[in-house]
């Protein structure tokens, strides 16, 4: 599943990038993130209680950041596993700024497995987009602080 999108944040790029790579900020922005701890280098482990509406699942996830080129680019790699199955994805984040507005363009590949894949195919993409939207809205608020 290819995921692609652009979100515009009313905040300067430096602040957005800093927020995007700050584990404490991330913990607050990732929907359903219950904990996010640094493991080593740019690798974090997280406990996510992710879901949409009545549909929820708990995931143990690792989040890794790579190809860091502040403040314009990095690569995010997420792998999660839980009772409803697993999810993994990686995406390139590119940040550009114009007139005080930072555009984050992301392109990535994501896949799900287990129950999520076999019963959820009609909603997985919409759910991913929705969670991305929530994440970036929260991030905007953080970057505006």
């Amino acid at each position: 599943m290819r995921l692609e999108g652009t979100h515009e944040l009313h905040a300067p790029r430096d602040k957005v990038f800093a927020a995007l790579t700050d584990p404490q900020v991330l913990a607050r922005c990732i929907p359903g993130c219950e904990s996010l701890e640094k493991q080593a280098g740019d690798v974090y482990t997280a406990k996510l209680s992710a879901g949409v509406g009545a549909i929820k699942g708990v995931f143990q996830a690792t989040v890794r950041m790579a190809d860091m080129r502040p403040p314009e680019h990095y690569r995010l790699i997420v792998e999660g596993k839980g009772q409803p199955g697993f999810l993994k994805g990686s995406g390139d984040m590119d940040l550009t700024e114009k007139d005080g507005i930072t555009s984050i363009h992301y392109v990535g590949e994501a896949s799900v497995g287990g129950l999520l894949a076999s019963v959820g195919q009609r909603m997985v993409e919409s759910a991913a987009k929705m969670l991305a939207g929530k994440f970036f809205s929260a991030l905007e608020a953080e970057a505006q602080k």
């Binding site: 949409v52 509406g53 009545a54 929820k56 959820g120 195919q121 919409s126 929705m130 939207g133």
Partner: protein, 288 residues
């Protein structure tokens, strides 16, 4: 296909249901007809610890007219709406939409309130709710509040109902004058859900021009939406085939389409246009 353990409480009154929701918080879910929640629980995709069953509360299933509106209790079944002679006369779109849901067994058990609150992106009701400009009356610990259909469907499986609130009633404003309504859908061959569903509610003036149009679309995107572009293209014009086609072409404007195994986003966008055109023409035909 076995749910995780949960407690079950049959609420005897709406107040009790609201109180129980307040007590158990996020651990609790309201059980209405159970046609979305229970399958999700059996797959363990939903794992509520407490189920508050509101199906035994008296006075949550009713259809009655009050002034210029129709009041439908949240626990009214699809079948009750489909089979009500009065609904067919005063709000034919409600009856038509109800009849398009699932199969007889589903319609006998599933409720309008349960369906709209679950907000499945492919459910039929949301399109009709938007087209009919209904109001959702929600009961909460601090009393009731009213949410308009356009504000109600927020996102995928997400509504404007706040934690602790229970949908009590749906109020449907009854159209006056020459009105025509229709619901058309492309059925998913497996689930019976709407691959695309379009509900049209329009009024004609004395000259036969479209005085007002209200169009809801479901199945196509992450949530049901109002086809504002199509409505604008109809309003003030004689709704002939060409106008209907031009309006339908705008029905999916500025919307991201869903994509799944059955229908790509591109095909869905096309189906919105075809279905909207058919629904508009059917509604015009129904307007006497």
């Amino acid at each position: 296909m076995i749910p995780t353990p949960f407690d079950y409480i049959a609420a005897k009154s709406l107040d009790e249901a609201v109180a129980l929701l307040g007590k158990h918080g996020e651990a609790a879910k309201i059980l209405a007809g159970g046609h979305s929640l229970v399958p999700a629980m059996k797959l363990r995709l939903a794992q509520p610890q407490v189920l508050i069953d509101i199906s035994r509360i008296k006075d949550l299933a009713y259809i009655r007219e009050e002034g210029n509106s129709l009041r439908v209790g949240a626990m009214t079944t699809h079948y009750a709406l489909e089979s009500s002679k009065r609904v067919r006369v005063v709000s034919p779109l409600l009856a038509e939409c109800a009849a398009a849901i699932g199969d007889v067994q589903v319609r006998n058990r599933g409720t309008i309130g349960g369906s709209v609150v679950h907000a499945d992106p492919a459910a039929d009701w949301p399109a009709a709710m938007i087209a009919l400009r209904v109001e959702m009356v929600c009961a909460g610990a601090k009393g009731e509040r009213v949410i308009k259909a356009d504000d109600f469907f927020v996102d995928l499986l997400t509504t404007a109902i706040a934690p602790g609130e229970v949908l009590r009633e749906i109020r449907i404003p009854l159209s006056q004058g020459r009105t025509g309504q229709s619901y058309k859908k492309v059925r998913h061959p497996a689930s019976g859900f709407a691959v695309v569903g379009v509900a049209v509610n329009l009024g004609l003036d004395a000259a036969g021009k479209c005085a007002n149009a209200s169009i809801g679309v479901t199945g196509a995107a992450a949530k049901a939406f109002r086809a504002g572009g199509a409505e604008a293209a109809l309003t003030g014009k004689p709704p002939d085939a060409a106008v209907a086609a031009a309006a339908a072409a705008k029905a999916a404007d500025r919307q991201d389409m869903n994509s799944d195994l059955y229908a790509s986003a591109e095909y869905r966008r096309h189906l919105v246009e075809v279905t909207a055109r058919r629904a508009v023409l059917a509604a015009v035909g129904a307007a006497k």
